[in-house]
């Protein structure tokens, strides 16, 4: 894990001091609401329905046990005892007091954390594959490049007042787990014909109101040109991106309206003029890579026999292993998911007690590191198989072992109308109802891989348009209604879901979801997945059944 040097630390401390002065001036009435809005957003502070919300950066989703303990402390001392993990690997507190936020930021700086650029029309937290460095399908670990990008984006003076927010994701594996095709810039580590590793650069992807799949602007970029190419794209966007309408201000609209060919020409012309002045040296790359070396694995880890035995003797354990753990590239280790989707708690939420306990378990079982995922769960990346049984028992006691990773109850869900001032409709309550309607684990496992994504408004924080089943809350004359889409995906074969039909009433959503799943169970071929079936048959059979009564 990247460890701050003196300059990194100085910078975040100076940012805390700057934000403290800004907050004090606002509270004294010296800065207008409108101006302070821009300043606070750039430091992760929203004004929400009930109180401010503070979003803290989880750089490419990698956190330490020490940082988790700090989050627990903040949840206890400054909030109502819990926090929320977002789809962009960040962490949100829903109940801090504005005047105490500078103190929270100071506490965070003590553990190398910050809230810099977690909102606002600027360069946001760079996200990545939550299985980086341990998965079996990876060309190269993307995290060193994420860290290089993190530093370059942090307090970038030229790109702090962009037309709209700007998100970058990096993936180094065959399977795209970072939704890179739905980011303003997506970077894929790829090999060229000469066998060298560089980046495929995608541009103009995005979700929200107008979901668009990113397009390749450069099939292969040498690593040394990473930052100059990003700078060229950002400069073109900053100069030409639309500022007249915030719904048309994302780079995806600029790319669409300019045309990929013309946009590429503008970027390449800019890039040729700057690339020699902004080269990444091989030494710099190596120095950052050295901060992400694999931990000291036990070479005898695979010799343990108890793991197989426990699975034979304990069906519940075997089920959890099957659904919540994955093969690791090192024999005798498994990648382990901690489900933040227990049926009775809001998706992605954790209490202070859980945070502290997870920190201890990470120290004991996974080299003190924790990752947050794009689907709002956690990962212990490096667990020895011999430890899995005792880890499972402890996670189960903490309600973090629901064996539902990748299943229909592993829903992505935004905070919705319960917390968010942008929302048109609730989402947490719907998630609860869907959970109640799907209380049979065997049925859930039989259904298999179904991703439900649910947002309480068009902004689409929960990426509903790329959910296998997408649910979008809308407001119709003060009443909450829900539009459903089917067939979306944020992985390699990226797709935007197709609308099922007219919106349904709030009390019908859970029933509609179960109806959709029943149609799938009845009409699937052999081991066909839900997404494959939707691709094969289209939405008609689902539509017919869902709207049968009308």
């Amino acid at each position: 894990m990247y460890q701050y040097n003196e300059d990194d630390q100085t910078l975040i401390e100076e940012r805390v001091a700057q934000f403290r002065r800004q907050t004090e001036r606002f509270l004294k009435g010296e800065i207008s609401d409108d101006q302070f809005r821009a300043l606070r957003l750039m430091n992760g502070v929203y004004i929400q329905t009930h109180s401010p919300m503070l979003r803290i950066a989880g750089p490419y989703g990698l956190l330490s046990s020490k940082q988790f303990r700090k989050l627990a402390h903040i949840a206890r001392e400054y909030d109502k005892g819990y926090c929320h993990f977002t789809t962009r690997q960040n962490i949100q507190f829903n109940w801090p007091q504005l005047e105490r936020i500078p103190d929270i930021l100071e506490e965070l700086a003590g553990v190398q954390m910050h809230a810099i650029q977690t909102s606002g029309n600027c360069l946001r937290n760079t996200t990545s594959d939550h299985l980086a460095g341990v998965c079996t399908d990876e060309l190269e670990d993307p995290r060193p490049y994420c860290e290089i990008i993190r530093q370059w984006t942090t307090l970038h003076p030229e790109f702090a007042y962009l037309p709209r927010k700007f998100k970058i994701a990096v993936s180094g594996a065959k399977l795209d787990r970072a939704a890179t095709q739905f980011h303003d810039i997506g970077l894929h580590l790829v090999k060229n014909d000469a066998g060298e590793v560089g980046f495929q650069v995608l541009v103009g992807g995005g979700l929200g109101r107008t979901p668009i799949i990113g397009q390749v602007i450069r099939p292969y970029l040498e690593k040394k040109h990473l930052l100059s190419y990003l700078e060229a794209i950002l400069r073109i966007y900053n100069l030409y991106g639309r500022r007249d309408n915030k719904y048309k201000a994302r780079i995806k609209i600029l790319v669409k309206e300019t045309g990929l060919e013309e946009f590429t020409k503008l970027v390449e012309e800019e890039w040729l003029q700057i690339r020699d002045n902004l080269e990444l040296s091989a030494e710099r790359i190596e120095a950052i890579k050295a901060q992400f070396t694999p931990p000291a694995y036990d070479s005898n880890a695979a010799e343990d026999a108890s793991f197989a035995q426990h699975q034979q003797e304990n069906k519940a354990f075997a089920t959890w292993v099957k659904h919540n753990t994955l093969n690791h590239r090192v024999p005798g280790y498994r990648i382990t998911f901690l489900s933040l989707k227990a049926p009775d708690s809001p998706p992605g939420d954790m209490t202070d007690t859980q945070l502290d306990a997870v920190a201890d378990l990470a120290d004991q079982y996974s080299f003190g590191l924790i990752r947050s995922t794009h689907r709002q769960n956690l990962v212990f990346a490096d667990v020895k198989q011999v430890d899995l049984f005792s880890l499972w028992q402890k996670l189960d006691a903490l309600k973090l072992a629901t064996p539902n990773i990748g299943t229909v109850t592993d829903m992505i869900c935004c905070p919705g109308l319960d917390f968010c001032s942008l929302a048109n409709a609730g989402s947490i309550g719907i998630a609860k109802e869907i959970n109640e309607a799907l209380d049979d684990m065997d049925y859930i496992h039989d259904i298999g891989d179904v991703k439900i994504n649910m947002s309480g408004c068009m902004n689409g924080c929960a990426h509903q348009s790329v959910g296998h089943i997408g649910i979008l809350g809308v407001d119709k004359k003060g009443v909450e209604w829900y539009q459903l889409t089917l067939g979306g995906s944020s992985e390699n074969e990226a797709a935007i879901g197709e609308r099922l039909g007219p919106a349904v009433a709030k009390d019908q959503v859970a029933k509609v979801v179960t109806t959709i799943l029943d149609v799938y169970v009845k009409q699937r071929l052999d081991d066909e997945s839900f997404l494959d079936m939707v691709k094969r048959v289209g939405i008609a059979p689902f539509k017919e059944e869902v709207y049968a009564d009308n």
């Binding site: 100076e14 700057q18 300043l39 307090l155 003076p157 007042y161 100069l239």
Partner: protein, 151 residues
């Protein structure tokens, strides 16, 4: 009126002449449109110094050839959230090697002065003169940075 220039608060001698007003004596700045219209006949023979005010929608490429004749470029902010001036300043300094004064004018916050200075703006005329000392002090907000600076 006072402004910040090269990290000092100084008295300002420049006047911006709007497109429908008569030119004045002394140091004046004009819009890009007026510069292009009147440079040959009037502005290049003006008795004082001449500057050009660029709006966010102007392209700095359009003034590149004349930069040697211009002693002040004003980058105007109609609204503080319009960040095009940041790239304009960067381009003026780095692409076109402009060495004259670049001044931020219009509706922006003292809190933006630090970033503006880092992309090459060296003079600041603020909406409220009483904000000048605070704006000046923001230049010391950070002692470290991750990007090359233009100032």
């Amino acid at each position: 009126m006072q402004i910040i220039k090269d990290k000092q608060i100084i008295d300002d001698s420049w006047n911006y002449i709007s497109d429908d007003a008569e030119l004045k004596t002394g140091n004046i700045s004009v819009s890009l449109a007026r510069w292009n219209k009147d440079k040959q006949q009037q502005l290049l023979h003006h008795d004082g110094k001449v500057g050009v005010r660029l709006e966010p929608s102007d392209s700095v490429d359009n003034i590149a050839e004349d930069l040697k004749k211009i002693e002040l470029i004003e980058l105007n902010f109609p609204a503080f959230a319009d960040g095009r001036a940041f790239s304009h300043a960067w381009l003026l300094r780095n692409r076109y090697q402009y060495t004259g004064e670049i001044r931020a004018t219009g509706h922006y916050m003292p809190d933006q002065v630090f970033y503006l200075s880092r992309v090459g703006i060296n003079a600041f005329s603020l909406e409220k003169t009483e904000d000048l000392p605070a704006a000046l002090s923001t230049l010391n907000d950070f002692t470290v940075s991750y990007q090359k600076s233009t100032n």
